[in-house]
């Protein structure tokens, strides 16, 4: 073994920078770590995409998506697809932490637990948005509708934020249970209903060219949902990961 300069008289690492900087740095580190691992394996996004494509194809046959019905159900089909594909991503993202004991590794680090929550949630949000960014043009081409409207994209962003905020919290619990993969959708979907309903209605409003006055209540509801659940998750996450 080569000689080492590792001596213990060097002082233990002091706080690098202010605590806020340390906090943000750990969030960034977790996001970077998730993205780098996914970039190597491409397992998560690959599975989410194939699954999403299948859901859309099944809907095509199940709903006989001819031109007239298509307009009315597009937003519903999209959100159901996102919601189902999302649970795959959430389960996998938390299973990675649990399987090799990595969650303990995160908990051993001298950072606030909520940094772990935000890191994981932002990583999950990225995966969600990447999948959505591929599904949207795919759907547009397959069914010849233009989904690239700023309003719709804004709704998708708001919906995905709320989805991953609640999803990350509940997935961290589900992954520690005996029935883990089965449990997440059962825990998640009933709590998500107001968000999904608002997202479907708001998306539909933009696609059908409704007036803003009709869409705004839904947008407001989504913003309220996002704010409330990010705050709740921030307060309770400690209890989900600590023993």
């Amino acid at each position: 073994m080569p000689p080492t300069t590792d001596v213990v008289n060097q002082k233990p690492e002091s706080k690098a920078g202010g605590s806020l900087r340390a906090y943000l740095r750990s969030i960034a580190a977790i996001v970077w770590k998730d993205l780098a691992a996914e970039f190597r394996s491409r397992e998560l996004i690959g599975a989410m995409l194939v699954f999403a494509a299948l859901v859309i194809l099944i809907f095509n046959f199940a709903l006989e998506l001819d031109i007239r019905t298509r307009e009315a159900v597009t937003s519903g089909v999209l959100w159901v697809t996102f919601a189902f594909a999302g649970t795959l991503g959430l389960n996998r993202s938390m299973a990675i932490e649990k399987d090799r004991g990595c969650l303990d590794g995160l908990l051993l680090a001298p950072v606030d637990r909520t940094a772990i929550y935000f890191g994981k949630a932002i990583g999950n949000l990225f995966f969600m948005l990447i999948v959505e960014a591929i599904i949207l043009p795919m759907y547009s081409v397959l069914y010849n509708v233009n989904l690239f409207q700023p309003g719709l994209i804004f709704v998708i962003l708001l919906g995905s934020i709320g989805y991953t905020a609640v999803g990350t919290l509940l997935a961290s619990m589900a992954v520690q249970a005996r029935t883990r993969d089965m449990l997440l959708p059962i825990l998640l979907f009933p709590v998500l209903i107001p968000l999904l309903l608002a997202a479907v209605k708001a998306s539909n409003g933009f696609l059908m060219g409704f007036e803003m006055a009709e869409i705004m209540p839904w947008i407001n509801l989504m913003i309220a949902y996002d704010v409330i659940f990010i705050a709740v998750a921030f307060m309770v996450f400690d209890f989900v990961v600590e023993e």
Binding site: D6, V8, E13, D104, E243
Partner: protein, 232 residues
């Protein structure tokens, strides 16, 4: 360095640690022996701030647990029987990630240092998923000492290693233990514990039942002692 008094931990109605007393001075290497279910892992998890004590006093590096856990975490390096590494990241990326989490300054040099120390420099760009169990365990040690902790906790680090990998691990353990660090290691392996540690404590049914310096005892005497105090 570590001082534990009347520590109690229960899982629901089931007591795991029943008023455990324990003490380690600076620079000491203590091995914790005991049968399965004696509470070794639970005890180490409490020292590692991963689990909260139910009752009793736990002081690590002058800080009370669980109240001052954050301050303790900075000074702790933990190796469990799970590697705590990400399979889809390379050795180097794993270390870089943990360096950021700990706020390690001068990080590239430190990562080089650690990779050399655990003998994984040639494989630094390979995915951890492709590593053998022994290599993963050595990298796990690298991960644990990255932020220059002065207290090390090892939870059965030899689990699942073959003879050669275990011997290599011993070498790394000795090297990092001599640098004036305080080490607590749980183990099943009596002779290995006697070989590595300065002192051997035996944990049985949630309390320390024997504590002997390894200078006074040879492995055979130690085995006899172990049998006598853990006998049901």
């Amino acid at each position: 360095m570590i001082k534990v008094r009347r520590l109690v931990k229960t899982f629901g109605p089931k007591p795991v640690l029943r008023g455990l007393d324990f003490q380690v001075t600076r620079g000491e290497f203590v091995a914790l022996l005991g049968p399965n279910g004696a509470g070794k892992t639970t005890f180490l998890r409490i020292l590692a701030t991963l689990s909260r004590p139910k009752m009793g006093e736990v002081i690590v590096a002058g800080h009370h647990l669980p109240a001052e856990a954050a301050a303790v975490r900075r000074r702790l390096g933990v190796v469990s029987h799970q590697p705590l590494l990400y399979g889809d990241l390379s050795a180097e990326q794993n270390l870089r990630f943990y360096s950021w989490m700990y706020g390690v300054g001068d990080l590239e040099r430190r990562i080089d240092e650690v990779l050399h120390l655990v003998g994984l420099n040639p494989r630094r760009r390979d995915l951890v998923r492709q590593f053998s169990r022994g290599m993963q365990q050595r990298l796990a040690i690298g991960r644990a000492i990255l932020h220059r902790p002065d207290i090390l906790l090892f939870d059965e680090p030899h689990t699942g290693l073959d003879q050669e990998a275990a011997a290599m691990l011993d070498q790394v353990l000795r090297e990092i233990a001599t640098a004036g660090r305080t080490v607590v290691m749980t183990s099943h392996d009596i002779s290995r514990a006697a070989d590595l540690a300065d002192r051997v404590d035996i944990l049985s049914k949630g309390v320390i039942t024997a504590s002997e310096s390894t200078e006074d005892l040879d492995p055979i005497q130690l085995t006899e002692l172990y049998r006598s105090v853990t006998r049901v």
